[in-house]
Chain length 330, copies 2
Amino acid sequence: MSAPDPTVGELSEGRILAGILARVGPSHAAVGPGDDAAVLAAPGGRVVATVDTLVHGPDFRLAWSSAFDLGWKAAAVNLADVAAMGARPTALLVALAMPDDTRMSFVEGIADGLRAACDALAPGCAVEGGDLTVSDTLTLAVTALGALDADVSPVLRSGARPGDVVAVAGALGAAGRGLGLLFSRFTDADGSPVAVDHSALSAAERVDLAAQLRPEPPVALGADAGRHGATAMMDVSDGLVLDATRLADASGVSVALTSASLGADPASALTGGEDHALLATFGAAESLPAGFRVIGEVRARGEASVLVDDRPFTGRGGWDPYRDWDAGTG
Amino acid sequence: MSAPDPTVGELSEGRILAGILARVGPSHAAVGPGDDAAVLAAPGGRVVATVDTLVHGPDFRLAWSSAFDLGWKAAAVNLADVAAMGARPTALLVALAMPDDTRMSFVEGIADGLRAACDALAPGCAVEGGDLTVSDTLTLAVTALGALDADVSPVLRSGARPGDVVAVAGALGAAGRGLGLLFSRFTDADGSPVAVDHSALSAAERVDLAAQLRPEPPVALGADAGRHGATAMMDVSDGLVLDATRLADASGVSVALTSASLGADPASALTGGEDHALLATFGAAESLPAGFRVIGEVRARGEASVLVDDRPFTGRGGWDPYRDWDAGTG
């Protein structure tokens, strides 16, 4: 009798792969999974490519995230990076490194999350390749590829011009508040993560938690922004102020934000990480595609990269994975 | 006074990235590192894409591999997968997850190895994007992208036909022997890796060790094989017999190998892993491009996927990362 839920160490690589491919398919590629490499359509002779990694410990805790959550988030954060170039995601490649004692049901949950995120956020995009490895540390490195429409230039960080409006699509601050909830309410006396009790959360808190664990970046709006002539765009992953600083510095301008446009909790909106909202600049407010809202304006370069309500922003600017992560936190 | 060789935990992500980019450049891409995603040329509207991961423990040991070796090998194994489709590598994306106490000089060594492998094995290919993460386990996940010549179809595993010749380019068996050397000669009484004493090695052993630590797959020959009408091709990464079995099964044929064509150590050639040679089939021996040598023939499907000297191969077939890795080995 075979075990009802074997570990990956008990299965061959071929069996594990077959279990994953049965869940992430069908392929939309010229050559999908199963050969040495995938072969994908790259319309217009251009391809957009990005990679982002989720590592157990700094990027997620298994007490808080389900396998489905992990697969979803690993897909979503990469789809957002493709969208931030003004492109449509076309394919994911997934490098999954996991401990020998990982249950096959967990692997299947990751596969389900990857597929569900593609279906919900970027229909037509699918997992077209990957790699399985043994590791002491559960790690998902996802590469996303994308296509630009024929008449659209990639939207860079460096194209903002004085006089442009600054706009955003997607939630700001919720994911950071969700992370705060996890650390403040779902850790034990030693600071170790414990399972989330959803019944202990208000409706608003559940929204924040979902933004952290299963983010829904406005992927389709990236290509919309490109078609509407966005002058600059980027994914807000490390906090609005830190990412706006990067955009301002790359463009040689200053970005002036209005806190009144940032919702009920402007402090979280300014500094909370992992929003995966799209920050973009446009030549005129009337050219904004549906789904974007104005949050400020681009000015000629001044002393500060980012102003909030006309003052240089002096708070904590956002999240840096090397300086801010404390391995001892749990 | 700043530390002469800081750890990544002491540096900002921006500083680490700047240190890497100074070594892997220059970019050949329309949009290289520094934005949300890279934008790469994909001639003919097609792109080849693959990912492969090196994890500390199962895939390398720091006592045996230098940072340069790691960067080189992570690039080389992915370049080989692109070549095995009949394509030319155009770009790498590198997801590097590393402990907080990793020295910056080590990161620079990885960057140097990545670049040197690209320059030596696939000129014109460069690191065009990536991601940095904190992890307890040093992990390099490299995605390689490639281009197919305008008139060339991707070469799949499934195209071998009875009557084709079976050919190989690159060394077989050396990398496996090199791994054997490491485990037999450079471990302590507990089986833990110790530094390699090169002066204790014969010239032939040094060649084997180099094949393991710094492989030189015949990357340029992949596109050559595509142009010469290879009917099937794959990267030999898990041992010739195991990979030939995959090719035979995908093509619905049997592969008959001749041990006399496999050099002085056919046993290693048949089962040693990590060769990263190119195994290909061609319609006729006279169509072989330079660099390939005949090692057998394709036959109508029989009972066995692979025959060696007309007998079904009964030895250990090759390497499976999930069944063969013993985490307790060191």
